[in-house]
Amino acid sequence: MDNKKISIRVQNLTKCFGSGEAKTCAVKNVSLDIYYGEMLYIVGPSGSGKTTFLSLISGVLRPDNGKVIVKDTDIWSLDTDSLARFRLNNIGFVFQDYHLFPRLSVLENVAIPLILKGEDWNKAINLAKEKLQMAQLPESKYELPAYKLSGGEQQRVAIARALATNPTILALDEPTAALDGDTGKKVMQLIKERMLTPERTILVITHDSRIFEDATRIVHMEDGVIKEASLNEIH
């Protein structure tokens, strides 16, 4: 992997919650290089700090210590609004429970990041269509309010939304947790085949061993510390 370009460089990252007796450190002095073209899985037991780690490196949770450099930008040196803009343009999220806007239509949900980016309404809706096609959601669902979709369909909408601004980084937290095995597998294959490009990095947190085979690299997290793990080791 030495010849690959680094997309995210994590240096001595630490994050603790609480204070005194109750103080727990969810991420402890973690350093890691992540590359373009990677589909990196972060696995580990519950409470080991995976979500915390992903939040720190994707700019939604401020670390106590350490640096996160995404595409040559030290993201935690940015002010709140610049960081928000950086996320909008460079990092797409698929939240564990999707966090779609249930009463907005599927198209509107996907259009939101584009609206934030300043696109006018019609253009945003048209771009949203492209993304939804890419996420392979049947066109008959585009006008439905998001809450009327099945879990797997909502997942596709969430993916389309995450990709709306063509971000370099795609971060997914437990993307298959709410899906049955087959659907989960299909979604992950879709992501790997259609969204993983040499210019993109995909970060996936998962418990789900059935989808491990889609990873290009797996790191293991335990008690706030990251260890490289070979694919064989995991299996």
């Binding site: 979500t51 992903l54 928000a84 990041p113 934030l116 939304r161």
Partner: protein, 380 residues
């Protein structure tokens, strides 16, 4: 900032759940309704309590210094009238008698009435005649009755009806109306000053007020000073209305209670509307968190909330105004002398309150939203 796109999103987020939106609008609408209703009743009652001042049409009123409402009739000696007539700036001055009497009805029952005695010469403060001739007021035992909802308390009266008033004979010679009807539900009878003060034995034999018509408003301070020197008080109609309103607001249990209820309605209205909107923001906190995580700036989040607050505020206000104007219209239709008045004053007051409420609620909402960690949303 993409104002149009964000505005559209804000509105869609707000109205998407029509059930919730309806609840929200009804919450604010009901609060506005409550405020408008109470203030309308309050202003209506206060305005009606001063109807005599308004109806008389005098520029200024001369009265005893201890008078604090228009129903007071603390007698003035005759020389006050002469003195007022002698003042520069006074076009003319006329006495008026305002008092109460008792009418014995044909069925043997008694009915309290308001009696107004008009200056025999000028008839200043006369009502608008709707039936009969004002000059008939000079004939013997003549009274002019005001045709309002209270008149039927005297039974079926018509021109020529006779009755007994304070053990004297009375005859109805005509009917009149006043621009503003009074608050207290007694029939009103007009007669001449002379008869009111001399023929009706239980009443005082003196002037209640001296009414002034003045040459120009610039004489007002001078007139006031002169009357004050004499030991009495001269007020413009406007001032007297204020004094009277103050009396009913603060010195009668009734006014005080309505005032307190009005204030309570404001507080209740405030908290209902504020609470409803704030709850809406709280319920949507995770959505705002998601927007934040995706990359909305603080300004954009604030913009979305403010748009929503303004929309809820104005639609709710409209609903409230509609509710309360139809309620008041219904009241006027069904209840004689219904006092509530929906004026620009209280509509504006309610609007100011709504703006205040929504601003406050959105301030709380914004604070909450700006504080929410996108991470919390992320964690699920």
């Amino acid at each position: 900032m993409n104002l149009k796109g964000l505005g559209t999103i804000a509105i869609k987020l707000l109205t998407g759940d029509s059930g919730k939106f309806f609840t929200l609008i009804m919450g604010v609408g009901f609060a506005v309704f409550l405020m408008l209703q109470m203030t309308s009743v309050f202003f209506g009652v206060i305005a009606k309590s001063g109807s005599t001042i308004y109806d008389t049409g005098a520029d200024m009123w001369v009265m005893d210094k201890s008078v604090d409402n228009s129903k007071d009739n603390i007698p003035l000696p005759d020389y006050v009238l002469d003195y007022a007539r002698s003042l520069p700036g006074v076009l003319y001055a006329a006495p008026i008698y305002v008092g109460a009497g008792t009418v014995k009805l044909p069925n043997g029952r008694y009915q309290a009435v308001d009696i107004v005695g008009l200056d025999d010469v000028s008839l200043m403060g006369r009502p608008i005649m709707i039936k009969g001739n004002i000059n008939d007021i000079y004939s013997s035992y003549a009274f002019i009755a005001i045709k309002d909802a209270d008149l039927k308390k005297l039974g079926n009266v018509h021109i020529g009806s006779t009755f007994e008033i304070n053990d004297h004979k009375g005859v109805i010679v005509g009917f009149g109306k006043n621009p503003m009807s009074g608050l207290f539900g007694n029939p009103t009878l007009y007669t001449t000053y002379t008869r009111a003060t001399e023929d009706l034995p239980t009443t005082r034999f003196t002037i209640s007020y001296v009414l002034l018509k003045i040459k120009s408003p610039k004489y007002i301070p001078e007139i006031k000073k002169a009357i004050d020197k004499l030991g009495y008080r001269a007020l413009t109609s406007k001032e007297f209305t204020k004094v009277n309103a103050h009396f009913y607001t603060f010195k009668t249990g009734f006014g005080m209670n309505v005032l307190i209820m009005t204030l309570v309605s404001f507080i209740v209205g405030l908290s209902i509307a504020g609470q409803t909107f704030y709850t809406f923001v709280l319920e949507n906190l995770e959505k705002f968190g998601a927007l934040k995580a995706i990359g909305a700036t603080r300004k954009e989040l604030v913009f979305i909330i403010v748009i929503q607050a303004v929309l809820v505020g104005f639609v709710g206000y409209g609903v409230g105004v509609l509710l309360s104007s139809s309620m008041i219209a219904l009241g006027h239709l069904k209840i004689p002398n219904y006092a509530a008045m929906l004026g620009y004053g209280n509509m504006l007051a309610a609007l100011v309150m709504v703006v205040f409420i929504t601003a406050f609620a959105s301030f709380l909402g914004v604070r909450k939203v700006l504080k929410v960690e996108a991470f919390e949303v992320f964690r699920g």
